[in-house]
């Protein structure tokens, strides 16, 4: 049995410590060690984006990051997107635009969209479609997702 390593990281604004095996992905750590099941597994090989998180300000597929690599990093998952005051504008926009059907890809899309608008508040449809191409949705045909992000974007 492989040994375990202690990792210290910041998760949704709080410094936490966890133990994990070197072979465990950050996705597995989030879901199975930390019980943060909002991050979803769709393919476990970096092709669907359901496990998207924001790691030190950059979106990554958490299935492609090892748990031990989170040492000293800052992680944001879907559980950290809303505040006690209410939903993030993107979350509200997804609800109002019916931008989800089954909802399994939604956490990944929300974090990817947030990452885009944090960096490019005026992203237009073309830019949004390009940015979100790493996240697969099989229910919506993307139309309502793209519209939901456009509604929050400051692009005119």
């Amino acid at each position: 049995m492989p040994g375990v390593t202690q990792v210290q990281t910041t998760l949704n604004g709080e410094v936490i410590n966890f133990l994990c095996e070197p072979r465990q992905s950050l996705l597995e750590v989030l879901r199975d060690v930390l019980g943060m099941t909002g991050t979803k597994e769709g393919c476990n090989d970096g092709n669907c984006g359901a496990c998207t998180i924001i790691l030190d300000g950059i979106i990554v597929d958490s299935c492609l990051v090892l748990g031990v690599e989170a040492e000293g990093k800052d992680i944001m998952t879907i559980e950290g997107m809303a505040s006690p005051e209410g939903l993030h504008p993107l979350q509200q926009s997804f609800l109002e635009n019916a931008a989800l059907q089954c909802g399994i890809c939604t956490p990944g899309f929300l974090l990817a969209s947030k990452s885009l608008l944090d960096q490019e508040p005026e992203a237009d449809e073309g830019r949004i479609r390009h940015w979100l191409a790493g996240n697969l949705c099989r229910c919506t045909g993307y139309d309502k997702i793209v519209r939901a992000v456009m509604q929050v974007s400051k692009a005119k």
Binding site: M1, E21, R23, Q24, R31, D32, G35, M36, T37, G38, T39, K40, E41, G42, C43, N44, D45, N47, C48, A50, T77, I78, E79, M81, A82, L87, Q91, F94, L95, E96, N97, A98, L100, Q101, C102, G103, I104, C105, T106, P107, L110, I128, R129, H130, L132, A133, G134, N135, L136, C137, R138, C139, T140, G141, Y142, D143, K144, I145, V146, R147
Partner: protein, 758 residues
């Protein structure tokens, strides 16, 4: 530019509005609990050992090394299933169906597709289970596989099942065959019909195996308690289907199995079959602990249920004025390892958009060494429409007729008889064609390099059993319990129909999807049935509530129930205007007038309204690379009544885009050994946001007379037209007719080289 239109004739207070879905906040905050989010104390993880061979005989399995591996708690093979200890004599007529069901879940003698389960391991975690799995020794006698539907039909093809004889319209064949069933229907006089035609065209078409591509892999958690009760928490379109399958395979009474349907991450027909549930159940029984399994994406591709590949021949005769005189088709679909392809649906849907006097259809359900196919959105109809709608486009070209005018001339309408006899009720195909013809998209000019295609689609829609229970709380809020799993708006659309019927606010209905012990039998969420049938159950249960609320008012007012009426959420005396209580005010008095009020209904309706869709696609094709880009797409569909138009549009857009993927990119590549060469999302390429334009929609509302609000059902018809619409557009753009899906850049370039039109 137009985007989303709703052509409504009747308006309601809640039905037809676009409220936020009740499960929405949980799904945008990560709190919604999907199958794999189930974590019971002490849960073990299971992994399934799968056959590396598409066709092999299992000579022996040695699990001893895996069982001795540290952290492993149990290993099972098919020997641990009830089927292994039941004789053919004991089972009698049940033998074949149980063998197929049990063997599909875990092979006892032969493996029939790559990925076929042969053993399973439960261990402290998935890594340990995976390591132990590698220690299981299976001795196979590798057999020659067959993975092409036409090859599988030939005499001398490798046989999958030694006992399988063709059922040819009720007659059983005299020798083993891979053709499980031949079905045939005809109407009118085919020879006369073709003789009357001025133009007869006949072509062949093929489509490849494709996958539903839901993002959430199959998963389940099982706990078989020491009192004999088996609990399952799983991702499924039908909790009662899972209960039935597990009870059949494990030889249990259904009431000993309880299935809790967790949130489901997409299904499209692929999450009806129970793959992991009985495996985890047996592992749980052996270990005394809960056991959870989650498929990898490769397992989903190789060992769940894709949609069949097909070979189709279509022949159509028309008069010079465009009137169809005769239609004929022969279609073969591969069911995969066990019989049951949707070819029956394919042949009856094939010409259902048209009113033709003379016709004949033949279908062949064929087994081959691929995973057992499952339903995929309007099963059978998309393949059939690709063939029929492509040939019609060619005919329109020959006749120099507008493709929508041709279809209007021949369109099915109320009273049109489908080839096997089903007669259409009030349907909206003509209204859809007119809406497409009048749409800004169809009237717009194409720029020079592109092509435009149109196609129709049909799905009968379904009824089947649904149950609903609703309770009036003392604050006037109604708790609504249903057995229908919510894949994309079910809670919202059933709550809307409940609120509309009770005359209360949408926000005052709280829907919950419950387990199989908490509600009456409810068929799957699928077949475009849920909004219709579960909606009807909710309407009937709400009527039950209304009559009980009237009884309570009669008690309070000390009057006769017949003197009281229920109008728009108010219970009132018919003649005494002073006597009037709102639903909420009356709810507050329930506690003192006999306690809570519950309404309930179980239905099995037959009034489903058939669904039709018309799609318009514009494409450009790069002459150097053969790459097709969809530049504009409009989906028109008859919803009967769109209960929540946003989710109806979502079904139309999602179906259209799955169809675009089916048309242009998606296919299973099999090598000669029957191995799928592209079992990842990298190589099985589904459309991304970057590949698509906005999908414009027009919801046509031709009320279904079989439902109080006119609801039809919308999920399936949306995926039927896109492949032909895209193929017809590619043909218009390149001058080359594409008769094989997917229409890849390579096929487009090759067609150009052959025809000198690149």
């Amino acid at each position: 530019m137009t985007s989303n239109q709703v052509l409504s004739e009747v308006e309601y207070d809640v039905v037809g509005k676009r409220p936020v879905r009740p499960d929405g906040v949980d799904k945008v905050t990560g709190r919604a609990r999907y199958g794999d989010d189930t974590n019971l104390t002490g849960t073990l993880r299971a992994r399934v050992l799968r056959s590396p061979h598409a066709h092999a005989r299992i000579k022996s399995i040695d699990t001893s090394k895996a069982e001795a591996f540290p952290g492993v708690r149990a290993v099972i093979t098919a020997k641990d299933l009830p089927f292994a200890s039941l004789s053919k004599e004991e089972l009698g007529g049940e033998y074949t169906s149980l063998k197929f069901a049990s063997d599909h879940m875990m092979a006892s003698d032969k493996t029939l597709f790559k990925g076929h389960p042969v053993a399973a391991v439960a261990a402290v975690n998935a890594h340990v289970a995976e390591s132990a799995m590698a220690l299981i020794e299976v001795d196979y006698e590798v057999l020659k596989p067959v993975v092409d539907v036409r090859e599988a039909m030939q005499d001398g093809a490798p046989l999958l099942h030694e006992d399988l004889r063709t059922n040819d319209m009720g007659e059983t064949g005299d020798k083993p065959s891979n053709i499980a069933t031949h079905m045939s229907y005809s109407t009118g006089d085919l020879e006369k019909g073709f003789a009357e035609a001025d133009l007869v065209m006949e072509k062949e078409y093929t489509t490849s195996t494709v996958h539903q591509g839901y993002i959430e892999p199959h998963n389940t958690t099982a706990f078989w308690n020491s009192d004999g009760q088996l609990d399952l928490w799983t991702s499924t379109q039908g909790s009662f289907q899972v209960r039935g399958t597990v009870a059949t395979i494990l030889r249990l009474p259904v009431s000993q199995v309880k299935v809790t349907p967790m949130e489901i991450g997409g299904g499209f027909g692929g999450k009806i079959t129970a793959y992991l549930d009985a495996i985890c159940a047996v592992l749980s029984k052996k270990t005394g602990a809960p056991v959870k399994a989650l498929m990898t994406r490769t397992e989903v591709f190789e060992a769940s249920g894709p949609a069949p590949a097909s070979w189709m021949r279509v022949k159509i005769g028309v008069k010079n004025n465009g009137k169809m005189t005769a239609v004929e088709t022969e279609m073969a679909m591969d069911a995969g390892a066990y019989p049951g392809s949707p070819v029956m649906q394919a042949i009856v849907c094939a010409f259902a958009c048209y009113d033709v006097e003379n016709g004949k259809v033949d279908g062949y359900d064929v087994v081959d060494n691929k995973p057992k196919t499952a339903a995929y959105r309007a099963p059978g109809s998309p393949q059939a429409a690709f063939a029929v709608e492509s040939l019609i486009d060619e005919i329109c070209g020959e006749l120099k007729m507008d493709p929508i005018e041709f279809r209007l001339l021949n369109a099915a309408k109320e009273g049109t008889r489908r080839i096997e006899g089903l007669v259409a009720r009030r349907i909206g195909l003509i209204e859809c064609l007119e809406a497409a013809r009048d749409h800004d998209h169809y009237k717009s000019k194409l720029d020079g390099s592109g092509g435009r295609g149109v196609a129709c689609g049909y799905w009968p829609n379904r009824g089947f059993q649904s149950s609903v229970v609703m309770t009036v709380n003392y604050d006037g809020v109604v708790s609504l319990l249903m057995g229908s799993v919510d894949i994309g708006g079910t809670r919202a659309s059933i709550a809307q129909q409940t609120a509309e019927t009770l005359g209360i606010a949408y926000e005052d209905v709280k829907p919950t999807v419950v387990d199989t012990d908490s509600i009456g039998y409810t068929f799957i969420t699928g077949g475009s049935r849920t909004c219709f049938a579960t909606g009807l159950a909710a309407i009937n249960a709400a009527e039950d509530v209304k009559s009980q609320m009237i009884s309570r008012a009669a008690k309070i007012w000390d009057t006769n129930e017949d003197d009281i009426e229920y109008v728009a959420g108010v219970v009132q005396h018919k003649s005494d205007e002073e006597l009037k209580l709102t639903f909420k005010d009356l709810a507050r008095q329930l506690a003192t007038t006999g306690g809570s009020v519950s309404g309930r209904a179980s239905v099995d309706p037959s009034g489903e309204g058939n669904g039709h869709a018309v799609h318009i696609a514009d494409v450009t094709v790069d002459p150097d690379t053969g790459k097709t880009d969809v530049t504009r797409f409009t989906a028109v569909q008859d919803a009967g009544k769109a209960v929540h138009p946003s989710y109806v549009e979502g079904q139309m857009q999602g179906g259209a885009v799955q169809g675009i993927g089916w048309a242009l990119n998606e296919e299973y590549f099999f090598d000669d050994s029957g191995k799928m060469m592209n079992p990842t999302f990298l190589d099985y390429r589904m459309p991304t946001s970057l590949d698509l334009p906005m999908i414009d929609t027009v919801i046509v509302e031709v009320a279904n007379p079989g439902h109080p609000y006119g609801v039809r059902g919308v999920g399936e018809a949306a995926i039927v037209p896109p492949m032909a619409a895209i193929g017809n557009a590619v043909s218009a753009a390149t001058g080359n007719r594409m008769r094989s899906l997917p229409i890849t850049p390579g096929k487009i370039l090759e067609a150009g080289w052959e025809n000198g039109k690149s």
